[in-house]
Amino acid sequence: MKANTQKAAKSPKNGFFARFKANKELLVLSIPGAVWFLFFAYLPLFGILVAFKKFRLSGNGFFYNLFTSETVGFDNFKFLFSSGDAWIIVRNTVLYNFTFIILGVAVPVVLALLLNEIKNKGMMKIYQSSMFLPYFLSWVVVSYCVFAFLNPEKGYFNAIIQQFGGQPISWYTEKKFWPFIIIFMSQWKGMGYNTVVYLASICGIDKTYYEAAALDGATKWQQIKYITLPLLKPVITILLIMSVGGIFKADFGLFYQLPKNSGPLYPVTNVLDTYIFRALKTSGEIGMSSAAALFQSTVGFVLIMIANKIVSKIDNENALF
């Protein structure tokens, strides 16, 4: 009898059921979430096929349309890259994101160091709270805050310019200012959040390192250089890998809401996300915009893999996976 049950447990089929039974309850708990992922993350992967199709919507449902519409291979991609837009859009996306990645590490780390060093901890709380505030506002609200300064007729900046005898500037049609405005506002909104991440990591560093260093006569700068920054490296690396993976993604609100979708600014504000959205909403070019979306996802995936590989080669501890 005993030998029999042992044998039964070893047979793969019974093992599967036994395992299933033992995990039944936890399985029930994780199924709803998995179903959500099936619908909102995995089902859209079929939508990628649209990039290879001459897709037309008719009344017969999405999958019917998908399988009956003509397959055109890489034609959509060819169209995308032969249009003059593609180069500008990719250039904008990459250059902006590259700037954001550099500033997104440098500015918050410097701010976290400053906040950590100042003597009055009460003030530290106030500074931290003020700088965190923009993170909680939506891009729509932020765009109105910016509009209060840049409104061509009533805005604050033009009032100041006129007070000093200058000509008012038509902010929403002058593209030369926007790279700076976009970079500035992206830092404005995000620096508080990132500062908190780094500040939390700095606070987690063992104080005895600093005490020992101070006793050995290390200056504040040396302490930062030889203790704080090296110990922050893991956090910086993980955030870097993640942002490298996102170098082809753009914050839609920043590039669409902030310039108020202004046409003359497209050369400096059009990025992959806004291009895809406009192609979908205005011209209905589903095939070409899905080609752009697939291009975006694929390059992002490849980049995150490469970044992770490089990091794991240099320092296996800090790799993402």
Partner: protein, 315 residues
């Protein structure tokens, strides 16, 4: 000795220990000045919007936006209360979507994260993979749009505002880490020996013990829903069901349209357009749509900081 007194004493001792390790007074002043300027830059634009919303429409048209207006007026807010049905309805939509979305999101994130946090769960690896792949590769905007509108038929449905945002891999990972670190295995094991089912374990033991973690995720979700306009822009054509943030995007064009077409309209249109405080009302809607966040802000911030610290811990 009370806990507060203890903490105070510990802080005092720490402060004394730190003394020899502090920056010079002049450097301290410099750092404070830099940080104060940055803090002001972060806060002032929003304060400016509040001031504009409280300015009298006439003096605003005459002088433009000013930090110290000639004349204050509450007319924009009065207009919203008396004639702003669509604005008030949008407020309702935002609140409904935020509350329902946060509850569903918390439930889904909580149960999934709890299952993943249990070492004894045999399918843990599989379900971890399920959430990792979407972090690395996604169908993108168009694919999502097609699935939500053409397969799930959610266009012009409030579910289109709720469902896409209720779950994400990042929240699950943060909460799983939180469960792992805050709930000792021994507690779970002993409850199991006492015959508690996983359901009871989750609802009666895990949830009460992990409240700070759940609050963090709840706040992430609440903020996400409250500030969302993108899903409304994609999926909402029905003017009766748009949330506040999207109303703010639309009101720009509808107000401009009213202003530009005054002459083309009948008498009613002219009076309606003339009585509407065009400039201040936009800013007033910005303010009322942000007010709940500003009031909840101190609470928000504390939990966000906790959440970020937890999220930063790897595995």
């Amino acid at each position: 000795m009370s806990r507060r007194k203890m903490e105070k004493r510990i802080k005092k001792i720490e402060a004394e220990e730190c003394k020899y390790n502090q920056i010079k007074n002049s450097t301290n002043v410099l750092f404070n000045v830099i940080l104060a300027i940055l803090s002001l830059i972060c806060v002032i634009p929003f304060i400016f919007v509040i001031i504009i919303s409280l300015t009298d429409e006439q003096s605003l048209v005459m002088n433009g936006y000013r930090f110290i207006p000639e004349k204050f007026s509450l007319y924009a807010y009065e207009y919203i209360i008396s004639a702003g049905e669509s604005i008030i309805r949008s407020y309702g939509v935002t609140i409904l979507v935020t509350v329902v979305g946060t509850i569903i999101g918390l439930l889904l994130t909580g149960t999934y994260a709890y299952a993943l946090s249990r070492k004894s769960y045999a399918y843990r690896k599989f379900f971890t993979t399920v959430i990792t792949i979407p972090m690395l590769f996604s169908g993108g905007m168009i694919a999502n749009y097609l699935i939500v509108t053409k397969v799930m038929m959610l266009k012009d449905s409030l579910w289109a505002l709720i469902l896409p945002l209720c779950l994400n891999s990042f929240n699950i990972i943060v909460l799983r880490t939180f469960f792992k670190t805050s709930i000792p295995d021994a507690v779970v094991e002993s409850a199991k020996i006492d015959g508690a089912s996983e359901w009871r374990l989750f609802f009666q033991i895990v949830i009460p013990m992990a409240l700070p973690g759940l609050a963090t995720i709840g706040l992430f979700l609440t903020l996400g829903y409250w500030n969302d306009w993108f899903n409304a822009m994609m999926y909402m054509d029905d003017k009766n069901m748009i949330p506040l943030q999207y109303l703010l995007i639309q009101i720009e064009s509808s107000i401009d349209w009213l202003a530009n077409n005054k002459a083309m309209m009948g008498v009613d249109g002219i009076t309606a357009a003339a009585n509407m405080p065009k400039e201040t009302i936009k800013m007033a809607i910005v303010v009322i749509s942000t007010l709940p966040i500003i009031f909840a802000y101190p609470f928000f911030q504390r939990y966000f900081v906790n959440g970020l610290t937890v999220g930063a811990v790897k595995e």
